[in-house]
């Protein structure tokens, strides 16, 4: 537990928080990268998932996409994308993370729309709702818990994976850990490594907790206890 104590000592030094490139800087980088990645993932995953779910086909495509991304190492995306026209800096990191945010968003949106009782749909049709009205007034509101579940999974995963951006100097809290390894164990890097690990782990758990609350708030009461729309397997965070 020696290194653990060193990690706590490191965290208790205010300079480690406020220095340029210190914890606060890295935290802000981490959150902004994660935010844009999740936003991009939503912009891609939700419309496709909702559309496929509305039309009621493409389930095989959704499963295939989810399984394929499981096999792609995030490290490969992080190293390959900067060499494309995207260039270096934040954009390739955001895109790489978004690639892994899409499957849970897509799959949950699809499941959410597919799991609506067909009788509900028929009733809405019988009331004279058009396809668009059905989608907006019936299907989307009923799918909100699933969309929230997908968002939670994707966001937690992105926040966790964003730590790996440090491998390609992409910023974020991972930089604290990799800098610690750079210093070396014998030179007191151990404390910094542990401190970075603690902060990254805490951030992931906090985001998970917060979004679990959000998911609960947007889920209508009758649906809460009966089924938990965490349908899709979570893709491990890089």
């Amino acid at each position: 537990m020696n290194y653990f104590r060193e990690g706590i000592v490191w965290l208790n030094d205010p300079l480690n928080w406020t220095n340029p490139g210190g914890l606060l800087d890295r935290l802000q980088e981490h959150l902004s990268i994660s935010f844009w990645a999740v936003l991009l993932g939503c912009a891609v995953g939700w419309p496709i998932g909702i559309w496929l779910g509305h039309r009621g086909r493409g389930g095989a495509v959704v499963v295939t996409v989810a399984n394929l991304t499981l096999a792609i190492p995030i490290l490969a995306m992080l190293t390959i994308l900067p060499l494309t026209p995207l260039g270096f800096g934040k954009p390739p990191v955001v895109v790489a993370l978004a690639v892994f945010a899409v499957p849970p968003l897509l799959a949950n949106a699809f499941t959410g729309l597919r799991s609506i009782d067909p009788e509900t749909r028929e009733a809405a049709r019988g009331m004279g709702l058009s396809g668009g009205q059905l989608l907006r007034q019936v299907e989307l509101p009923l799918a909100v818990p699933y969309l929230a579940a997908g968002l939670r999974t994707a966001a937690v995963q992105v926040v966790a994976t964003a730590a790996l951006a440090a491998f390609v100097n992409g910023g974020g809290l991972g930089e604290i850990i990799s800098a610690g390894f750079g210093i070396g164990m014998s030179n007191g890097g151990g404390g910094q490594i542990v401190a970075g690990g603690l902060v990254v782990a805490a951030l992931a758990l906090i985001v998970e907790g917060l979004l679990a609350v959000v998911q609960r708030l947007v889920t209508p009461k009758p649906l809460r206890a009966v089924r938990r729309p965490r349908t899709t397997e979570v893709v491990p965070a890089g």
């Binding site: 994976t161 390894f181 690990g197």
Partner: protein, 232 residues
């Protein structure tokens, strides 16, 4: 490795091609040993995780009040980012051995395996359990002869998911130079953005994942002959 085509294709042009047979040919030994290390580490991680996960799933299945805590604990371990796990484990175990990577990988594979095994066990119909009890099976006999075989498809599914994601996760170990093919990916990036090295490492990683997935799928097919007869 004389099997590679020696005639240089067009993409071997000077500059920085995305893929180059010459790179593959010249570095066959490095590639092979990285692949071997990667596959070995994956196998060890998944096997250890399975050895830990199965008893956990059985305990969670037998003692209902432990189901929640066991799933919650493995869920928390799963939420913790792989890099953080590595950062917390490596200083304790040592930054020069692959044991720290192995521990992080095992902790990570646990949730998928426990959850799937438990799902498989709880799917065993109550009538089947009663019939087994009526035939005189005890708790362990029932588990071994009835419940585990019936849960096998779910366990194999979990095993496939865990294996594929572990193959991708091993690359994170390149932080301490124990990432197998990930070392190639990161090495290529650091080596003045050597595209051929990066892409070869990435392609081999994905290929390894797919091959292992196919092998496990085949194994599951062999182990569950009763599902085939039904035409499922």
């Amino acid at each position: 490795m004389a099997g590679w085509p020696l005639a240089a294709p067009a993409d071997d042009a000077p500059g920085n091609p995305w893929f180059s047979w010459r790179y593959v040919h010249d570095n066959a030994d490095t590639l092979l040993s990285a692949l071997q290390f990667h596959a070995g580490l994956t196998a060890r991680a998944v096997i250890v995780a399975l050895i830990v996960a199965l008893p956990l799933a059985v305990v969670a299945y037998w003692i209902r009040s432990l189901t929640g805590p066991i799933l919650a604990l493995s869920g928390i371990l799963y939420t913790i980012p792989s890099l953080a796990l590595l950062a917390l484990v490596a200083p304790l175990v040592g930054t020069t051995t692959d044991t720290s990577v192995l521990i992080a990988l095992v902790l990570y594979a646990l949730l998928v395996l426990v959850r799937n095994a438990l799902a498989g066990l709880t799917q065993v119909p109550a009538e089947v359990r009663e019939a087994a009890a009526g035939m005189g099976y005890g708790r362990f006999g029932r588990l071994w002869h009835i419940e585990l075989p019936l849960a096998l498809p779910a366990v194999v599914t979990g095993l496939r998911l865990a294996t594929v994601s572990t193959v991708a996760l091993v690359t994170v170990g390149s932080l301490i130079g124990k990432g197998g093919l990930g070392d190639l990916i990161l090495g290529g990036f650091r080596n003045n953005f050597y595209r051929a090295e990066i892409v070869t490492g990435a392609v081999l990683t994905v290929a390894l994942a797919l091959v292992l997935d196919l092998i496990l799928a085949g194994l599951g097919w062999l182990l569950t002959p009763w599902l085939r007869r039904r035409g499922a």
